[in-house]
């Protein structure tokens, strides 16, 4: 039996907890998909680099001397030592600390010390190159990379989901607030993306304590600034290739485009960069959270009340769930602000983010209890025969709004998880096609 019973929306728990499935995922999902690696603002200048992960592998993301962003395995092609030891920096070349091979930041070998003493005449220095990820592309500042030689373009991969990515990340020039936050979460990465791709259902239970304390209370002001809207407040959209998003709007509408929580001077820019459907989607936005398959979750939200020391503010967030082992995920989190914010505005947006979704936020500690207990309590083969249930689907997709994808006019449903798992199923059930049995481009030398 397949791990995912697509028809019945049941998934065997072994898909999450069996170490062998984890190894297969590294081959079939993470070597074949576009993976987020960095935001362009992290690589402002030529030579800027950050060290990141693709799947469980450490990579270097660097803007080379010609401004092109490249991604390399952070391991010397000679005998494997790390090339970068820092999380971030700027360099025109990488020098390996073992035997001193140096590489330009476009990956080409520059110096092979004592090449004539050590190597035979036949040794071809020009064939020496950092292990480079063949495809690197960016969309709205988000840089992705893909190990698969035959990968489709990023645009094709995002497909109709680019509408939503653009609505969040394309409405202005954003920059990261600082280096990403990182933590080890003892659960499977799919538990996280399952939640972010569209689980509005858990809020009223998981986050009851925060809600009861007033975290979502909008106060009088936001009510004053608009008028009651009859629009369907919530939608879940299942998009191409397993991507998906949940969009929740407050029942308010305005005369002119209004982006609650963002400083008003940005509103014109937002409006001009977006199409009217995207603008409409962001009106009175409470929260939009989704996932770019496989493991880059995105979220924009308004934080109306996270402390009397701050003001209602919107924030934009991306988090990535790196698969370290079947029950271990390295979670990386970024917060974004539009360029040009004042220090106060920036801190307001950061506070909104941190107090919602940071490691000390009001939501995460409760979410982690759910996610980590699903790991610790499903550890044996006995439990792996049981299933997870994603049968929530009370209505079918409609067209009450002119947004792309299968748009379900409902707030709480599991259609996006079904869509995500279908994609996962499609990739996992297909045996890898190339000869060496693991689907890896033969760019060793």
């Amino acid at each position: 039996m397949a791990l995912v019973d697509v028809e019945r929306a049941l998934t065997q728990r072994r898909a999450y907890w069996d170490p062998e499935i984890h190894q297969q995922e590294l081959e079939r999902i993470f070597r074949k998909s576009w993976l987020f690696v960095a935001h362009e603002s992290e690589l402002a200048h030529n030579g800027d680099y950050v060290t990141r992960r693709m799947g469980s592998d450490p990579v270097i993301v660097v803007r080379d001397e010609h401004g092109k962003v490249r991604v390399f395995l952070n391991s010397c092609p000679h005998r494997g030592a790390a090339l970068c030891r820092a999380d971030m920096g700027n360099t025109s070349h990488f020098r390996c600390s073992y035997h001193g091979w140096t590489f330009a930041n476009d990956g080409a070998a520059r110096g092979i010390p004592e090449i004539n003493e050590v190597y035979p005449k036949s040794f071809d220095k020009s064939a020496i190159h950092l292990f480079e990820v063949p495809h690197v592309e960016a969309y709205d500042g988000l840089i992705f990379a893909n190990w698969d030689e035959d990968a489709p373009s990023l645009q094709d991969y995002l497909g109709n989901f680019s509408f939503y990515v653009h609505a969040l990340f394309g409405k202005a020039d954003f920059e990261v607030v600082g280096p990403p936050m990182r933590g080890i979460v003892k659960t499977n990465w799919k538990i996280g993306v399952d939640n972010y791709v569209g689980d509005g259902y858990h809020l009223s239970t998981t986050h009851k304590s925060a809600i009861d304390m007033g975290i979502f209370e909008t106060g009088r002001e936001s009510e004053r600034i608009g008028r009651f809207s009859e629009r369907t407040p919530s939608h879940c959209i299942s998009a191409d290739n397993g991507h998906g998003i949940r969009v929740q709007q407050m029942p308010i509408e305005f005369d002119t485009p209004t982006f609650l929580g963002w400083p008003q001077r940005y509103w014109d820019t937002f409006t001009s960069r977006l199409n009217p459907d995207q603008v409409e989607m962001l009106q009175a936005l409470a929260v939009a959270h989704g996932n770019i398959f496989p493991n880059a979750s995105i979220l924009e939200a308004l934080a109306p009340h996270v402390g009397s020391d701050t003001f209602p503010a919107a924030y934009l967030h991306l988090r990535q769930w790196h698969p370290i082992s079947a029950d271990t995920t390295e979670l990386w989190m970024w917060c974004f602000v539009p360029k040009g914010m004042s220090a106060d505005e920036k801190m307001g947006s950061q506070r909104a983010f941190l107090r919602h979704l940071g490691f000390g936020g009001c939501f995460e500690t409760d979410d982690f209890q759910n996610w980590t207990s699903a790991a610790s309590n499903n550890r044996s083969p006995l439990t792996w025969d049981f299933t997870f249930n994603h049968q929530g689907r009370s209505v079918e997709a409609g067209n009450d709004v002119p947004w792309p994808g299968n748009v379900f006019p409902v707030d709480h449903t599991e259609v996006n998880q079904q869509n995500l798992l279908r994609r996962w199923h499609d990739l996992m059930e297909v045996a890898p096609s190339n000869g060496n049995g693991n689907g890896h481009p033969a760019n060793g030398h």
Binding site: V177, V306, D309, E364, T365
Partner: protein, 189 residues
């Protein structure tokens, strides 16, 4: 004489670190105060603890990062894992009220926490009446039947005289680990 890298590195997060250590009387008062404060925090007694901080109390855990430039601080600039003030901590304090606590899945049952304060260094602060206190701290965190997680850090506090006693005006926590095993950072170190 060659300048050492190390000096540059540490100075950036250090502020008053090279002022002389204070006299014994002050040290004794401060350590007793901090010991009692830790005892309340160990017991999640936030409501009583809130009496020990100033109204302008600010709490921050900067994001740790490894930069290739050793001359810059190995923590994000104005980027935090946790950033709170006395006002916002109200949302932490109230989480332990009976009616809320029942649904505070991440806190209930209460974890066991234990703070170990070592190498406490008390120095006069930049403003009169303020003292800067550096502590090497270990926080032990134990959830349900999980193994204890030990988290090490440098804690830098600003304390202010309050009559016979003290109040904490500012706390910065410089975690040693870049990638946190203690992801439940909704706590005061």
């Amino acid at each position: 004489m060659a300048t050492t890298i190390a000096t540059e590195h540490t100075s950036v997060i250090v502020g008053t670190q090279d002022k002389p250590l204070c006299d014994f009387e002050t040290h004794w008062g401060v350590t007793q105060f901090l010991t009692r404060e830790a005892e309340l925090l160990d017991g999640w007694r936030y409501r009583e603890w809130a009496e020990m901080i100033t109204d302008d109390f600010n709490y921050g855990i900067p994001v740790p990062v490894t930069r290739d430039d050793p001359g810059r601080p190995q923590y994000g600039d104005e980027t935090y894992l946790v950033e709170e003030t006395k006002a916002s901590l109200d949302l932490w304090v109230r989480r332990y009220d009976n009616d809320v606590f029942e649904f505070a899945w991440g806190e209930n049952p209460l974890q066991r926490t234990r703070r170990y304060l070592s190498n406490i260094r008390v120095r006069e602060g930049d403003k009169a009446g303020e003292y800067e206190v550096r502590t090497n701290e270990i926080l032990a965190f134990t959830r349900q039947s999980d193994p204890t997680i030990l988290t090490t850090c440098l804690r830098v506090d600003t304390l202010r005289r309050d009559g016979e006693s003290w109040r904490v005006a500012r706390r910065r926590v410089y975690l040693d680990q870049n990638i946190h095993h203690l992801t439940h950072l909704r706590l005061v170190f």
